[in-house]
């Protein structure tokens, strides 16, 4: 269970967001500039809310009244960034291992094999991020976040920088991830077709406010577009 109740002023945009979601895949859906990425940056600890509370299960990540603000490295929240952000000086294997090592988890080769198989990247392990395709890079980014055993996985438009071929390539992995990994996901997107395929819950955000929370039926027919 993720509960978010935060306020943050960013330039002209006043973000004031309140929502609670259970397990499964939650989409933060809304137009560009609505404050979606800022919301998940606050969940990850990369952006500090002006006031509010963020909890995951019984863990309080942020509470302005109680002066609790866990730094990102203590939150155990996996984050898949729009542009992947793989470490260019490390091999794919070292990138995948980074979160586990930094989180002080023991080596677990069966988990490593499970994730590399799930995301079909066993053949990429000795390559460098510099010579991966966009789709491969995003799969590695997802694997890297999974292998730190997060309590929550954040994905910020993980397919936005991919062309349509690579989107079709990575989408089934995200669906498998939702069904098999057992980790709650928060998925930021402004593409209805993506949200329809991946999300179980939709939180609709516009101009920094939650305008509706519910199932995929929240996406009206006007949102019907191709997966482009």
């Amino acid at each position: 269970m993720l509960a978010v109740d935060v306020e943050k002023k960013l330039g002209a945009l006043q973000i004031s967001v309140h929502f609670q979601v259970a397990s499964g895949a939650t989409a933060l859906f809304g137009p560009s500039g609505a404050g979606k990425t800022s919301v998940i940056n606050m969940i990850a600890g990369l952006l500090t809310p002006d006031r509010g509370v963020i909890t995951v299960d019984d863990a309080v990540l942020f509470d302005s009244d109680r002066h609790i603000d866990l730094p990102p490295y203590r939150r155990r929240i996996g984050y898949v960034f729009q542009e992947g952000r793989l470490f260019p000086h490390l091999s794919v294997r070292q990138n995948l291992d980074y979160g586990r090592r930094m989180s002080g988890l023991p080596r677990d080769s069966s988990e490593f094999d499970r994730v590399t198989t799930l995301l079909n990247m066993a053949h990429l392990l000795d390559r460098r991020p510099g010579n991966l395709s966009g789709g491969e890079r995003q799969r590695v980014a997802v694997g890297r976040a999974l292998l730190m055993r997060p309590r929550l996985l954040l994905l910020d438009e993980p397919m936005a920088s991919l062309d349509i071929g690579h989107k079709r390539e990575i989408l089934p992995y995200l669906v498998r991830l939702r069904d098999q990994a057992g980790i709650p996901m928060v998925y930021v997107s402004h593409t209805p077709a993506e949200v329809r395929l991946i999300a179980t819950t939709v939180v609709r955000i516009d101009s920094g406010k939650v305008v509706a929370t519910g199932g995929v039926e929240l996406l009206d027919t006007a949102d019907n577009d191709a997966l482009a």
Binding site: Y73, Y79, R128
Partner: protein, 231 residues
Amino acid sequence: MFDLTPEEWTAVALTLRIALVATVCATPFGIAIGWVLARKQFWGKALLDGVVHLPLVMPPVVTGYLLLIWFGRKGAVGGFLDHYLGIVLSFRWTGAALACGVMGFPLLVRPVRLALEAVDRKLEDAASTLGANRLTVFFTVTLPLALPGLIAGVILCFARALGEFGATITFVSNIPGETQTISSLIYTFTQIPGGDAAAGRLVLIAVFLAFVALIAAEWLGRRAAARFHGE
């Protein structure tokens, strides 16, 4: 290849030792100051930047003279070091290393600072979400990404230290076996009749060492850069 007298070999070995110690000791400070200048905004930042770069623009003799005043046995810092730690720098090879380190410092800091400024902060954010605290992020992400700049700075500092003359001779004089480096020995030979041949031999050595340092810098820089692309 090089037919040198024992006195000349001593100067060559001493020069290498002084340059190496100067560079190794200056590097952690160079990284720290480079990081502060690249990442922090504070009152007096321009002043710090200026002070770091002073040895580059002041006459080396002036730097040497200031070192003599501050780090000599009667100086503010030198007196303290002598009295409490038993460390004497003036007229010792360690003093020569200090002079060389100070002279090479701006050449070290500048590329380090530029390289740190160029590091993508978003990668540091990614590392912190993966469980790395700030210090670990610095050593596993920031510094490795700035490595080409660090290597360039270290080699420049080392090369500067190899050839340092003015500050060294002012601060620690020209004592055979203690502070007489290649440069100061060449200077000595030019002051005595018939010293041309010996000076010429040492000049060859100096040119050779400078070339090796440059080639090493090029090679290391390429290797470090190659790690970011391809396997």
